[in-house]
């Protein structure tokens, strides 16, 4: 999903530098940029001023659907379509259905979250361009796509150089 974009990339060698750079990039008014780090960097969400993900709402909604569906289904099978007397209990016996309602809540919530995550993160991406092969090991990068507001290669290069980037290049990501 989603083709790659051209833009400017800066490579940083330390976590502290990339945090400052992410903050600065945000302050310059860029909105579509991305920070690429080999591991989760504490404070990165704040530096990029990321909003909270919308995935929890999907989880809650799907969980609620699972709960309702299970309640309806156990009622329909046990009390309507094929009513069977189990131990003299009422056909519609909520305590017996709670485990099923719980399981379907969890199942729907979990699977929908994974699907939503894939959608939100634009996965799967087959064979994406590589900015720098060390980004999965010990280097950090900021990438600003060319369609971002106020994109100006000269200005960006000057900004990244001032922030102490070890390398600034035109790249595809």
């Amino acid at each position: 999903m989603g083709g790659s974009k051209t833009g400017m990339a800066a490579i940083f060698l330390t976590e502290a530098q990339v945090l400052v750079a992410a903050k600065k990039t945000h302050d310059m008014g860029f909105v579509k940029y991305d920070a690429i780090t080999p591991y989760p960097v504490h404070g990165m969400e704040e530096a990029c001023a990321l909003k909270r993900s919308w995935i929890p709402y999907v989880t809650f909604g799907a969980g609620f659907c699972g709960l309702s569906l299970a309640l309806w289904f156990t009622w329909w099978t046990s009390a309507v379509n094929w009513a069977i007397n189990v131990g003299g209990k009422p056909f519609f016996s909520l305590p017996a259905f709670v485990p099923i309602m719980f399981e379907l809540t969890v199942l729907f919530a979990a699977l929908s979250s994974v699907v939503a995550l894939f959608y939100a993160a634009g996965l799967p991406r087959i064979n994406p361009p590589i900015l720098d092969k060390d980004l999965t090991c010990h280097k950090f990068a900021i990438f600003i796509p060319s369609d971002d507001v106020g994109y100006d290669e000269k200005k960006i290069e000057a900004m990244f150089r001032a922030l102490g980037a070890s390398e600034v290049k035109k790249a595809e990501f």
Binding site: F60, G87, P99
Partner: protein, 401 residues
Amino acid sequence: MTVTHHDQKLHVGKFKPSKGLKTAAYVGTGIGIIGFAIGLLKNPEHMWPAYLTALFFISLLGLGGLFWIAVNIISNAGWSVSIRRLAEGMTSFIPVMVIGSLVLALLGLKTLYPWARPEEVAGDPVIASKAGYLNQTFLIVRLLVFGIGMYLFRRTIVGNSLKQDATGEESYTHKNVAAGVAFLIFFALSFTMFSMDLLMSLLPTWYSTIFGIYCFSGMFQSSLALLILILFYMKKKGFIQGYYSAEHIHDVAKFLKGFTVFWAYIAFSQFMLIWYANIPEETEYFLMRAQNGWMGVSMLLLVGKFIIPFLALLPRGNKRSPVVLVSISIWILIMQYVDVYWMVAPNFNENQMSWNGYDFSLLVGFAGIFLLVLSNFFSKNSLVAQKDPRMHEALSHHVSY
């Protein structure tokens, strides 16, 4: 002592209980003692159930503090060391619990437990067959083993932490890992017996193998709620600054939500298996709690101890909001008391729900003693384990979202 670290201003003041707090603690204790004395002489059949309910409810708060510390120690958690001392304070009720349970075993046994009344044991072969376990001597032995065990573990674990305050010696942290592991094993076994002895044997013909875990789940849920209240109190009164942030409180709130779900899971497991199997000697317990007004209390527990806290603690914003957290913590503490009351009272007034003056006076009495020992502990010791070797982890605690 004020130092600067990680750009945060760190400050630990000397704890001085406010006048209102002191008065409340002394007045509460006084009301409790008066209620106990009058009840003992005039109305033991009402006083002892109230005593048992209040003692069990408050004791669980103290035990929950120790359990939480042990869980954090053995999971090698660094984030919580800056708030550990507050949970350590909660454990100061444990000596009172030991004395309180022995008083009950020596004076109130015949009033409370059918198995302690020889004429009832003689008339019921089921109870008679359990006499090898359910008798006064063995009960006192078990209470002593549990109580002294808890006391010694508390002395070791909290003691090591306090000794570390003076020297900052790292070995105390390592020593506490072994103590924490031993405590959890001992606690799992002995707390099951403690809850069976004090609450389950009120109805000696009934049994539930999950009963100990049920009491444990309520214990952990309520003690986390209390810990949140203490965290906000110390912050608001300015005794502690900078040592814990919204992140720490958020994490304790996550614990609280998790164990709210855990309580519901255990409570439902106990109910559903008994309901499904429908064996008379097991259903007895729930039948008593489904009639004569008790059904309302049972439903209140389902809604109030699970559904309301669960939905209230679900959004992230609520777990970081002082207003929501303080109200839901107070609410959970009330519900925990209702839960203990719900386990005890139907054995004595099955035909009608009544909550009388003894219930009130003993509750505020034990709560008053709890406040006294708590503020005594905080006045004597530093409010933060400042020299803990993992303090830097707690100070830079930050959770990605």
